[in-house]
C-alpha cells in the first residue's frame, strides 16, 4: 500500500470518527440540555459551546450578590416602547387587576393577581442588571421565586422551557427549566424597598440575574411552560432572535 493511499485512509478514518463523535455528542447534548435552540447556522458551534460550558460548569451556581452599600444611587431604566392603551388602563388603577397567567405543562394552570403573588414565599436579593451593550447597575430586587410558583402549580415531567410574554407585544423570551427553577429567578414586584417602578418593569418583571438584561422581560403577564420552543413565534424562543441576538445570554 502506498503512502498516499494509507494517508487517505487514515484521513478518511479521522473524518468518519469526528463525524460519529459529533453525532454522538449532539445526542448526549440534547439529552442533558446542552444544546440551545439557536444551535444551527454558522454561529451555532460557538453558541452551543458557551451554553453547554456554563451548564456543565454550574447549573445551580448563584449570580453575584452585592452588599447594600453597592446599590446604585442612580440606576438606568433604559428606554421602553410606548406602553399600550391596555397597559395605561392598568397603570391608572394601580395594577390591581394585573394578572400573571401560568399555563402549558403545569398540573394546575392559574391566573395570579399581584396580591396572590405577594402572599407567596418572597425573596430579596441585591444583584446587577448587565446590559449586552456594556452598562450595568446594582439594585435590590424583591419578588416571588419562579421555582416556588411552578412547584405550587405542579410542573409536568415533560417541561423543558418557560416562555414568557409581556404587555409589550414586541418583547417575549424563554429560559430553560434550570434557569426557571433557579432560586434567583424572580417574578419581581419590588425594587430597592418600594413597588417596582414602571420604567424598571413594574408591575412585574422576570429577573434572570445569571443572564443579560434582555432576558429580564418587563411587564410580564403570561408564562407558558413547554416541552418545545417550536410553535412559539419564530421558533427561536425569543423576540430578540429577530434582530440576530443569541438565545442564551449568560455571556
Amino acid at each position: 500500500m502506498s503512502n498516499v493511499s494509507r494517508r487517505t485512509l487514515l484521513a478518511g478514518g479521522v473524518v468518519a470518527g469526528v463525524a460519529a463523535a459529533g453525532v454522538g455528542l449532539a445526542a448526549i447534548g440534547r439529552r442533558f440540555g446542552l444544546v440551545p435552540p439557536d444551535a444551527g447556522g454558522i454561529y451555532g458551534p460557538g453558541e452551543t459551546l458557551s451554553y453547554a460550558a456554563h451548564r456543565l460548569l454550574g447549573r445551580n451556581s448563584l449570580a453575584l450578590e452585592f452588599p447594600r452599600s453597592m446599590i446604585s444611587a442612580r440606576p438606568f431604566a433604559n428606554a421602553i416602547t410606548t406602553p399600550t392603551d391596555d397597559f395605561e388602563r392598568h397603570r391608572a388603577e394601580s395594577f390591581v387587576n394585573w394578572r400573571l397567567v401560568v399555563d402549558g405543562h403545569v398540573s394546575r394552570p392559574a391566573s395570579l393577581s399581584l396580591s396572590e403573588l405577594r402572599a407567596m414565599q418572597a425573596r430579596s436579593q441585591i444583584t446587577e442588571v448587565t446590559c449586552e451593550e456594556g452598562w450595568s447597575y446594582v439594585a435590590e430586587w424583591t419578588g416571588t421565586p419562579l421555582a416556588g410558583i411552578l412547584s405550587t402549580l405542579g410542573v409536568r415531567p415533560t417541561a423543558r422551557y418557560v416562555v414568557y410574554y409581556s404587555s409589550d407585544p414586541e418583547w417575549w423570551e424563554s429560559i430553560d427549566l434550570d434557569e426557571a427553577m433557579h432560586p434567583q429567578t424572580l417574578v419581581t414586584w419590588g425594587m430597592n424597598g418600594a413597588d417596582l417602578p414602571v420604567p424598571f418593569g413594574g408591575p412585574l418583571r422576570l429577573r434572570v440575574p445569571r443572564q443579560l438584561g434582555y432576558k429580564s422581560v418587563k411587564f410580564i403577564n403570561r408564562l407558558v411552560v413547554t416541552d418545545s420552543l417550536d410553535g412559539f413565534g419564530n421558533g427561536m424562543g425569543q423576540s430578540a432572535a429577530n434582530d440576530g441576538y443569541a438565545w442564551y445570554a449568560g455571556i
Binding site: 454561529y43 449570580a63 453575584l64 449586552e132 450595568s136 441576538y245
Partner: protein
C-alpha cells in the same frame, strides 16, 4: 556546498504547528477585533469598578457615535445596531482563540519551542542587552531585523508577553463580563475589582494587542514581506547563514 541532492529537505523556518496556529489566531483575532468594535459602539463609554451607565460619570468616553439612542455622544445620528451577530461571532471566535491558544502552548512546551525560540538566551537577559536592542529597533538598524532564522531578545520578549500575558488577560477580562461565568467563578471578576473595570481593561488589552500587531506587521514589511510571510505559510526560508 555539495551533496545536498538526495539529503533530507531543510528544516522549516517555522514548525507546522506554529504556522497553523499563527494563521488561525490571526483569523480569530481580527474577528474578535471587528466585532468588539461593533459592541463598543453600542456603549462607547468606560467606567471603573462594578457598575457604570449613562447616569454615572464615565472614566472616559470615546469621541464616536453610538448605535444606541440612549447614549449621549454629541452626534445627532445613530449607527445601525450590529450587536446580535457581533456578539455571536465574538464568542465563537473567542472559542477558536482558546482552543488554538491551548494547542499552541501545549505543542510549544512539548517541542521545546518556547525554550529554544522565544526565551532569550542567557547572554541577552540583561537591561543593557535589552536597551541596545530597543535602540536598534528605534533606528530601524539592519541588525535589529537580524537573522531570518532567529529572533533577538526584544522580539522574543514581545512574543512571550503576547502569548503568556496579553492573550490570557484579554480572555480573562472578557469572561469576567459574563454573568453566567462569574456566577460559577466569582473570583474571576472579584480579583479584577468589578465588571466595569474588567470591561475597561479588556479595551486597553485590545489596544495593546493592536499596537503589537501594527509593529509586528511593520517589522515584517521592513524585513521583507514576501519572504517572511512565505516562511509562515510554507515554512520555507533562506538557508541559515
Amino acid at each position: 556546498m555539495t551533496g545536498t541532492i538526495g539529503s533530507a529537505p531543510p528544516a522549516p523556518r517555522h514548525a507546522r504547528f506554529v504556522r497553523i496556529t499563527h494563521w488561525l489566531t490571526t483569523i480569530a483575532f481580527f474577528a474578535l477585533l471587528l466585532t468588539g468594535v461593533e459592541v463598543v459602539l453600542s456603549h462607547p463609554r468606560f467606567y471603573w469598578g462594578q457598575v457604570g451607565n449613562v447616569n454615572t460619570q464615565p472614566l472616559f468616553a470615546l469621541p464616536v457615535p453610538s448605535s444606541r439612542s440612549t447614549v449621549p455622544t454629541g452626534y445627532s445620528f445613530r449607527l445601525a445596531d450590529q450587536n446580535g451577530w457581533s456578539r455571536y461571532l465574538h464568542f465563537e471566535a473567542a472559542w477558536l482563540l482558546l482552543f488554538v491558544g491551548l494547542a499552541y502552548v501545549v505543542a510549544g512546551l512539548r517541542s521545546g519551542h518556547f525554550r529554544r525560540n522565544l526565551v532569550p538566551p542567557a547572554a541577552d537577559r540583561s537591561w543593557t542587552a535589552l536597551r541596545s536592542a530597543i535602540a536598534e529597533h528605534i533606528r530601524f538598524a539592519a541588525s535589529a531585523i537580524g537573522d531570518p532564522w532567529s529572533y533577538n531578545a526584544l522580539q522574543r520578549l514581545s512574543y512571550l508577553v503576547v502569548v503568556f500575558v496579553l492573550f490570557p488577560l484579554v480572555v480573562w477580562t472578557g469572561l469576567a463580563m459574563a454573568p453566567g461565568f462569574t456566577a460559577v467563578f466569582p473570583a474571576g471578576v472579584g480579583l479584577l475589582g468589578g465588571r466595569q473595570t474588567a470591561r475597561t481593561l479588556h479595551f486597553f488589552l485590545t489596544i495593546a494587542l493592536v499596537l503589537f500587531t501594527l509593529v509586528h506587521v511593520t517589522m515584517i514589511i521592513v524585513a521583507g514581506f514576501r519572504s517572511r510571510v512565505r516562511a509562515m505559510i510554507t515554512g520555507a526560508a533562506e538557508s541559515p547563514q
